[in-house]
């Protein structure tokens, strides 16, 4: 039944650990989609998935699964 699929995708996201905190993601078909969901698509960030760096070239094909640990880093001012 289509409505069940709809209900599932809206109410129960995929449980990730994002920068050490619980995060329920709706967009998990790729790292790129997750970054878009977070509002940082196109921003310069480095993505670490389960301790492996995901190069920018692989973000659009690398999907996410329940329980994945995702870390995102960016550059800030520093001396």
């Amino acid at each position: 039944m289509p409505w069940r699929v709809f209900f599932h995708s809206e109410e129960t996201g995929v449980k990730l650990t994002l920068n050490g905190e619980a995060y329920e993601a709706n967009e998990v078909e790729s790292v790129t989609a997750l970054l878009e969901e977070m509002g940082i698509g196109g921003r310069p960030v480095v993505v670490v998935l389960n301790d492996d760096v995901i190069p920018a070239s692989r973000r659009s094909t690398c999907g996410l699964r329940e329980g994945d640990h995702v870390e995102l880093f960016r550059l800030v001012g520093g001396g």
């Binding site: 977070m38 310069p44 480095v46 760096v53 995102l72 550059l75 001012g77 520093g78 001396g79």
Partner: protein
Amino acid sequence: MERQGKGRDEWIVGGHRFSSRLLLGTGKFQDAETMVGAVRASRTQIVTVALRRVGRNPREDDMLGPLGELKGITLMPNTSGARNASEAVRAARLGRELCGSPFVKVEIHPDPHHLMPDPIETFEAAKILAAEGFAVMPYMPADPVLARRLEDVGCASLMPLGSAIGSGCGLATAGMLRLILRDARIPVIVDAGLRSPSEAAAALEMGCDAVLVNSAVAASGDPIAMAAAFAQAVGAGRDAYCAGLMPRGSGAASPTSPLTGFLSVEGS
């Protein structure tokens, strides 16, 4: 052995040529516009940046975005926040991913009270990263023994502190810096503690290849004007070093004008 980059205008670090002898940190600036203005006014070619986790509000302004528009700037990520060698190595690898630069400023200072670099962890991280092909620029105590050890494991430069980070206490380590300079075969960059352009000039006059400043510019009354002042100071200091300072006297005067009287007739 002569260090690289002895020429008046150019110096070489990690196989890359630079003409500016001023490295600038990007922390503590009140806004991105001031920071970019200071980077331009400083005429620097190497700026340091830090790496942090994306926060709860990931849409927050990207302070460093405008840096990308500047031509001829090499980004050097630091490992600030790392408390030991393995954290610094991880930070360096992530920084390289983001900056695409071979340079890394290894800084490991576990105690927030004095921010003194941990020499043992710094050495361990430098050894690993140099073997991985990084151009390692270690923030280090002004210690000639450690300097030699860091050079031997393949660091691209030495970055001894002038005084504590952000302290503005100047070249408190001048005597130790001279010992490092005497033997170093890689560039020596005074990193941390400088407050005034005259201190930067003094470091260059002493024979240091460059200085790295951040607070001295960012926390000054007018960061853009101060960045320009530092640019002039490092140029003056380098020119003075190349020219060679006059010998230091004993304290007794040595006249610059003839001492013979001009009103009285000589010999009368």
